[in-house]
Amino acid sequence: MIAPLGKPDDAAKAGTSKAPALAFDQVTVRFGSYTAVSNASITVGDGEFVSIVGPTGCGKSTLLNVAAGLLEPTEGEISVYGKELDGINRQAGYLFQADALMPWRTALNNVITGLQYRNVPVREAEELGRKWLARVGLNGHHERFPHQLSGGMRKRVALAQTLIMDPKIILMDEPFSALDVQTRVLMENELLALWMADKKSVLFITHDLEEAISLSDRVIILSAGPGTHPIAEFVIDLPRPRDVSEVRMTPRFVELHHQIWEAMREEVLKAYERNQQKLAS
């Protein structure tokens, strides 16, 4: 990776290691007069699993949309492997919080949608699609339509749909928040296994601190909105491979949870008070 001239800082980084997968540089996003995100600088290293945690309604999804290239920052810039992002982020796959499957396509056809956009021959695409459906544990459900699948199954299809494109970066917006606890733990473990298999860079958004700690290499805490920005970050030094339900019992996990919660508490209270005021007025 060759850094542009006149930016010694970048050049130095490029010299020592690979440029980060994602780098938010002083990103501000405004919607009209409302400032959703202000001056946020975040990096996600190559192959790193980073979680962003923040109180509800603090603009976490806005950050992810910026990283995806679906939303242009009002100020600041975002670079992907050292290159400034312009338009859709072609290196990234996005797992949405809401159902994003096409209801008129079968599971298999949903999974291979992206390959079809790339004009991969149908037979080849379907073969790969079947492999991916098997990998996410959905053998025998190829011809089902989304409404015939459970919420957990739909998430698996969405996961296969994103991962089949082999993106270098995966953006995840509270992907498992709608699932029941058991399914959720299963999906989290599967996600970790898939991530371990071929180290993608992951930016994972959640409001669940335990989920963030058990999955990530690094956890970033956001301030309460409006004008969200990172206020603290913690390196999660729990050994890998992890089992998300077992790792929660370890003393180190409890310790980290305690530390991060201390840092978060104030922001959560702020967000809570703001909501109460909104309700009162």
């Binding site: 995806a68 679906l70 859709i88 982020n89 072609r90 990234a92 796959g93 996005y94 949405f96 809401a98 159902d99 994003a100 499957l101 096409m102 209801p103 008129w104 396509r105 079968t106 949608t113 992206g114 079809q116 956009y117 790339r118 339509f145 989304p146 409404h147 749909q161 994103t162 494109m165």
Partner: protein
């Protein structure tokens, strides 16, 4: 609640009872036979038409008019709905005109179509098209505007370009709305065909009824209505069957 079989039997019994009531009321002169006809003669007329094969020419004509009106109406409705759905400026510009056209009882265009397209099939198809068009148009317009933003964003993240978005997101989404209004569209095409035939034609079930009416043959009028009703029921049944195959990926 009685079982399905019993219910069908009861429904048939009700039909027979209605015919018998009709027959009796006419026979004892409570209903004047001149206005209400004789159900036996009505059925006789229907059988005569079927045996002589005369009715099939007319049925075929009406069917062709209906199908053409339906297909052409769907085509233009989808095209216009997509266009306006994707172009907010055009939609805003044309909004009052669309409202006016929709408010207008469009069967009044029938005489103009007769003048423009003659007494043949074309004027009936044109009437059917105008009726079908608006049903489809509004559904597609709505469908395009209400395409889930998440599905759109997802398709873009998966690498869809503009034409791929159109083919894989907008059109299927709009079509699911078209399918949900299939019954209504086919019904409208049928109304267009029959009303068109009433206004002037040389063939079709509407023509058959018009003919009978002009000779005060009330039995033939009722026979025509009977044939029309059975035909409409069959048409609706076909749509239901088609729907089962076409509407996929939607609950219910």
């Amino acid at each position: 609640m009685p079982g399905r079989g019993t219910m069908v039997l009861m429904q048939l019994a009700l039909l027979v009872a209605l015919f018998v009531a009709w027959f009796v009321l006419v026979k004892i002169n409570i209903l004047p036979i001149f206005f209400f006809g004789d159900p036996v003669l009505v059925l006789q007329q229907v059988f005569d038409w079927i045996i002589s094969g005369e009715v099939f020419v007319h049925l075929a004509t009406t069917l062709i008019e209906t199908i053409l009106g339906f297909l052409i109406g769907i085509f233009f409705g989808v095209a216009a709905g997509m266009w306006l759905g994707l172009s907010p400026i055009a939609a805003a510009l044309l909004d009052p005109y669309i409202k006016a056209l929709n408010a207008m009882p469009r069967v009044v265009l029938g005489p103009i179509f007769v003048v423009w397209f003659g007494l043949g099939i074309a004027s009936k198809v044109a009437l059917g098209v105008t009726l079908v068009f608006f049903v489809v148009f509004f559904n597609v317009f709505q469908g395009v505007r209400e395409v889930s933003p998440v599905i759109l964003a997802n398709a873009r993240m998966l690498g869809a370009n503009r034409s791929q978005l159109l083919r894989t997101v907008y059109i299927p989404s709009a079509m699911s709305w078209v399918f949900s209004s299939l019954h209504m569209s086919v019904g409208m095409a049928f109304v267009g065909a029959v009303v068109g035939e009433y206004l002037g034609s040389s063939r079709g079930i509407g023509y058959l009824i018009l003919q009978a009416e002009s000779t005060f043959d009330v039995n033939a009028v009722f026979a025509g209505i009977l044939v029309l009703t059975v035909f409409a029921l069959l048409l609706d049944l076909t749509v239901t069957l088609a729907e089962r195959r076409l509407i996929v990926g939607r609950p219910n």
